[in-house]
Symmetry: C2
Subunit: 223 residues, 2 copies
DNA sequence: TTTTCTTTTTAGCTTCGCCTAAAAATAGCC
DNA sequence: GGCTATTTTTAGGCGAAGCTAAAAAGAAAA
């Protein structure tokens, strides 16, 4: 089945909404995610239901059917593989890659995806630490916590980010906070939930609650 | 100016028609190239003229304006750079790459094109031997002749192909005719313009007129 | 030069994806 | 339970890009 880029984007948006809320996706949520009017969303939902890609009941929100979910995870797979390519091979920074990968994910060629995956040596995570689904759509889940929940005195490894905005990522880069960095919580202020961390045993950084809640870390033990 | 992929494809088609015929592109020629009805072409030509990308006079065919030509050559540049990437890095064969590059050429990111060009070490020709335009749209022209015009007893280097169809390219591969191969014309038959060639000083191959007229060669002297 | 053939354009219609405004259904609150 | 607010859907329209059929223009041939 050949889908338009627009249809693909709807499926991806639905997938991401369900992933987060673990319920069904509402018209409004999709409308916000894609920045289109709710009326347009309703229309598209009818079309996708017609194509057997989603389960859609009027006023009840949508679920993905197996086929629709497959398409969505494949898009995410391609998106993240291209992000790895852009950073590792073409030396882009992680705040630059999203809009480019957003286009590249729509390239239709299973052979290309397979070749790219092999070329990059089957990466499991993208440059933001997000897992890359395999061909079947399976995702490696990693035990991780937001840094804000970490304990003072403990050291963690930065493995992912929650927020993907350019501003946030640029601030991280500016603070030497890149994936794999060691973060030891040296101090913690209950008043505003901010903290001080020692980065790679060298530089001390101050992190607001907003920053630390958007950083995913894990204990050094479990790789 | 942001163009749709369709508009881009029209500009590229017009460019290629003019490149071949060195005249203006007719509605019919464009219609054949893009496999759309002449009526649809007329409609699009009006739109492109409105956007100042082409010179269009009713019943007189079209010319590209500077801006339109720039877009066309940039598309060709991106297409051919991606073809190099697919063959050199991802190990695709030259008969597989065209449809993929046809999609990749529409990715909009000047930074990506620049990075890819650098990554590939600024290639001047694509895997079919076609020249890659530079950022300004300039094309390296290479002195070359169709093999069919070569002289018996002389040795040539295969530098390009005229035809790009899958069937043709697969036949070439099957005959060990890859770019860079040395071809010595050992025999020639006037009746049907066919010839025998010695490939890389090793294997003798028989080439029909149709084959040899689609192979571009140059003397070993001028690289 | 007139007739015929080919090419191109116009006219009118379709689908996709989007919109706004209004109506209908659901959810939240007193 | 009934009123209000929110969400969702319907209705009606628009632009892009395509189509066919018919008309008009240009080219070729008699």
């Amino acid at each position: 089945m050949k889908l338009s880029q627009t249809e693909e984007n709807y499926l991806k948006a639905i997938y991401k909404i369900i992933e987060k809320s673990s319920k069904s996706a509402s018209t409004n949520a999709i409308s916000k995610a894609l920045e289109t009017s709710p009326a347009s969303v309703t229309e598209m939902l009818k079309r996708l239901a017609e194509k057997e890609l989603i389960l859609y009941e009027k006023y009840k929100g949508v679920q993905l059917k197996a086929q629709g979910e497959k398409i969505a995870t494949n898009l995410i797979r391609k998106h993240r593989l291209w992000e790895v390519f852009l950073v590792q091979e073409l030396n882009f920074t992680w705040d630059e890659i999203h809009p480019i990968a957003e286009q590249l994910e729509h390239i239709q060629s299973p052979e290309l995806t397979i070749a790219l995956d092999k070329y990059l040596d089957h990466p499991k995570f993208d440059p933001h630490g997000d897992p890359i689904p395999d061909q079947e759509g399976n995702i490696t889940v990693r035990q991780q916590i937001p840094l804000v929940e970490g304990k003072p005195g403990h050291a963690y490894i930065l493995v992912g980010v929650r927020e993907h905005s350019k501003n946030f990522l640029q601030q991280l880069e500016n603070m030497d906070l890149i994936l794999g960095a060691e973060l030891e919580i040296t101090d913690r202020f209950e008043f505003d939930q901010s903290m001080k961390v020692l980065v790679n045993g060298a530089k001390e950084q101050f992190l607001s609650q907003k920053m630390s809640s958007n950083l995913y870390v894990q204990n050094q033990k479990n790789g």
